[in-house]
């Protein structure tokens, strides 16, 4: 069984990804602050017969990233599947956006993906097999009101993923991006009913996305069946960006 690490795996999309990957892999559920929720995800996986551990990983901190990988290598094996899912938002309309909020979003979403990917690639190069999936956003493709920092970080992940795909394809390492649309999670819970109806009106599939919609795509991109697919961006958005 292969070993997967899902950063930000304790909640929302990351939780669904961890649970889905656990059907075929050992899963390290990465969390930054929500330890209890990560343990709940681990328990739910184990209750279904899967194998999982909870590991702390603050993707803004090199030392924490190193510790996390060392723990996974000790408890499971080297990380063969990495899902860069940890992300934050600090929304503000661009003229009012503070640099601190720019910096922290870029540092977590984009530079955090860099840190985790670079560490993961060490083992993947040795194994001559690896899967990296970046959870970006349709905001990274189309931009989004009030999310200049978030959109820039998510667009940056696309450039990173595409470059990794070119550099490491010869070692059977694929690197792909999923761009979720409006998914029903804590991150979108601030939307009121009217806003939700507005959004649904723009979609071809007339419902808000579920975390499982993303997890299904991640699962495919992490499988052996997807070995000829790399450097691509897959919107999973109910038709929002067509």
């Amino acid at each position: 069984m292969k070993t997967a690490l899902v950063t930000g795996g304790s909640r929302g999309i990351g939780k669904a990804i961890a649970q889905k990957l656990a059907e075929t892999s050992n899963v390290a559920v990465g969390y930054s602050n929500s330890k209890e929720q990560a343990v709940e995800v681990v328990n739910s996986i184990q209750a279904n017969g899967g194998n999982a551990i909870a590991v702390q990983i603050d993707v803004t901190d090199n030392e924490s990233v190193e510790k996390c990988f060392e723990l996974i290598e000790k408890e499971l094996s080297s990380v063969e599947i990495l899902v860069n899912n940890a992300g934050i938002t600090k929304d503000n309309i661009f003229p009012r956006l503070k640099q601190d909020d720019w910096d922290s979003v870029i540092d977590t979403n984009l530079t955090g993906s860099f840190r985790a990917s670079q560490r993961a690639i060490k083992g993947m190069m040795k194994n001559k097999w690896g899967r990296i999936v970046f959870i970006s956003s349709v905001a990274g493709i189309s931009g989004n009101m009030g999310q200049s920092n978030y959109a820039a970080s998510k667009a940056g992940m696309i450039g990173l993923a595409k470059t990794i795909s070119k550099e490491l394809g010869s070692r059977n390492i694929t690197s792909n991006v999923i761009a979720p649309g409006y998914i029903d999670t804590d991150m979108t819970s601030f939307l009121n009913d009217e806003q939700k109806e507005d959004i649904i009106g723009q979609l071809s599939i007339k419902r808000v996305g579920k975390p499982e919609d993303i997890a299904n795509m991640v699962s495919f991109l992490c499988s052996d069946e997807s070995e000829y697919i790399t450097g691509q961006v897959f919107p999973v958005d109910g038709g929002l960006t067509t």
Binding site: K122, M125, K126, E167, L168, S170, R171
Partner: protein, 79 residues
């Protein structure tokens, strides 16, 4: 560590990490032409050196390394 000990370790890394035939790994062998190591392969070798010898190698130090012997001498000088 003696130069020949470094060479033996280096040879093992080439064989184990990159699957290169042991007899091809001589001090004179050119990394790219004789051993068919691409640029990513050189990165793999360097990372393996860093782990094996517990050292850090700067990219600048690598610019003059084209043969196994030059790599061995660089490593020997850093130990």
């Amino acid at each position: 560590m003696e130069v020949n000990e470094v060479f033996e370790k280096v040879k093992n890394l080439f064989v184990d990490e990159l699957g290169i035939d042991a007899e091809k790994v001589t001090m004179e062998a050119k990394l790219e032409e004789d051993l068919d190591i691409d640029s990513l392969g050189i990165v793999e070798v360097v990372m393996a050196f860093e782990d094996e010898f517990e050292i850090e190698i700067d990219d600048e130090e690598l610019t003059d390394v084209g043969t196994v012997g030059q790599a061995v001498n660089l490593l020997h000088s850093k130990l």
